[in-house]
Symmetry: C2
Subunit: 314 residues, 2 copies
């Protein structure tokens, strides 16, 4: 068995995933548990970690975590770094859990054009892990997109996160599907693939909003209901349309946000679970945005880099 | 007791309200019940009507209803009229319930710029009732706004509904408050009035989106969470901010929609429950939109007018 150099943990709201990495940073073991911070009662983080690590718990290797475990509701609050933030600075800003033998990567914050704060925890590490090996022809800042419950769009360049913006896309889809009048028109069974793709495409195109058909999200969401009412969508395709509409809207908003900061949406790096990256790849293509998929193990890569630069591993 | 000339019923998804009107159209009695079509099982509309009317059920006066009772899920489907629709045409399009001694006003439909259908049922009657007595200096089309779960913005002119658009504002607020991560930061107790107003105002201003601070709804909704996280909003004011943000966004979208059809948002007629009309009046003022409140009994007025023009009352 390879000696462990680092136990790297991606510890979020709903789940935790641990990686055992050897001296060259290669992942030689992986385990996960539904032990996100939302599932942990009464501050029982230490026993949650023991459960997650199982027999790795005896391993003397250093441990480094990123994600919501560093939030106010987590084990120890790892103070935010403000944008623009050099990725190096993440390694210099680790927070140690008291008596817990765990270091936590700081989150990142920035202000939007209306002076409303924005936050990320975990994504900064994934961005680092995904962009380490990216070779670009020039030094122009580019976009990294992490789709999900709270999607992040980040402008990255010159080893820094310049700025980022969060979109509530995934969570909005879930609450509308589960709890709104739209959900009552959706069947639990999926549509045949061709019908599903067609409805998703129509939704994306509406969300992206072609010239002469301005977007109006509060109105367009209602359209998912009326299209079903007029049988242009079926019980099995209404969810695909809504998903496309929201993802298309996110792409429209994200591209406009980047454009307002002088960054064009070409060669966007997508990071996330394969099925979600696939969905965003299709939607981005419909919006004329070219994407490349980042590595699936971006968090582990980022944690490895941070551990080395923080001197946790040598 | 005044003789009854008409029993007018505003029969929606969640509640039903009946008005007894005398020969001059004055409301001489009113009753309501939580007997919206969503509460009625197995097509028991006839007994629901008997419950609602109580001792009025013996009254031989004609009965006229508007609202979701005329939908596919209602008692009898009253086919939609297409925009532009002359308000006269509503009286010519009544649907009779088989054996039920009830006539139902048709709903109205139109297509938006992306050819997505839109629908209203009940609001067409309220618009009619609210605009009958409106004297305008010129014949320019104007806006009528009916805030609610599914807010309607309608362009009215020359005795016609030219076009309309629905916004999912109220329902989106409810599902986000009850079921999203935002709701977990909201206390059940209301804020002190000054703090509530301040948070609502900030939300409206964000939703309306001043120059140089472009709107981005999927992003801005997340801002309600981060403002709470950074303690710029409290547990008791986060809901006010979200409400303001969504209403402000609706106003921005609605004004842009009307403007795209050459209609300016001056002297907008607001129809609805007093508390909601008050909220929209404040929000519209912040957005530079001048409003006038329509009558509270718009549905009863509209039903009376339709009943007369349909020959139900003479």
């Amino acid at each position: 068995m390879d000696a462990t150099a680092l136990i790297a943990i991606d510890w979020g709201t709903t789940s935790a995933r641990a990686y055992r990495q050897n001296a060259s940073g290669r992942i030689v073991g992986e385990r996960s548990a539904h032990l996100g911070i939302a599932q942990i009662r009464d501050g029982q983080f230490s026993s949650a970690l023991a459960t997650l690590l199982d027999d790795w718990a005896k391993d003397p290797a250093p441990r480094l975590a990123c994600g919501m475990i560093g939030s106010r509701q987590g084990w120890a609050e790892a103070p935010y770094r403000e944008c623009p933030v050099a990725l190096d600075a993440l390694a210099a800003g680790l927070t140690e859990v008291t008596g817990g033998r765990l270091a936590i990567v700081p989150g990142v914050t920035c202000l939007d054009s209306a002076a409303v704060p924005d936050v990320m925890r975990g994504e900064e590490t994934q961005i680092l892990g995904a962009t380490l090996g990216v070779k670009r022809a020039d030094a122009t800042p580019y976009l990294v997109v992490l789709p999900g419950t709270h999607s992040k769009w980040a402008i990255v360049g010159d080893g820094r996160i310049e700025a980022f913006a969060t979109y509530l896309t995934g969570e909005l889809f879930a609450v509308l599907k589960e709890h709104s009048v739209l959900g009552r028109m959706m069947a639990a069974t999926p549509a045949p693939r061709a019908a599903s793709t067609q409805a998703f495409t129509r939704g994306v195109e509406r969300g992206v909003a072609a010239k002469g058909k301005p977007a109006s999200l509060l109105h367009d969401i209602f359209g998912a209901r009326t299209l079903a009412l007029f049988r242009e969508l079926s019980e099995t395709t209404t969810a695909d349309y809504l998903s496309g509409l929201l993802i298309g809207s996110e792409i429209r908003e994200g591209v406009a946000w980047a454009s307002g900061r002088g960054v064009s949406a070409d060669r966007v790096v997508l990071i996330g679970a394969p099925a979600l990256v696939e969905r965003y790849t299709v939607a981005c293509a419909l919006a004329g945005v070219v994407t490349v998929a980042g590595p699936a193990d971006a968090a582990a890569r980022g944690l490895w880099w941070i551990a080395r630069h923080a001197g946790l591993v040598t």
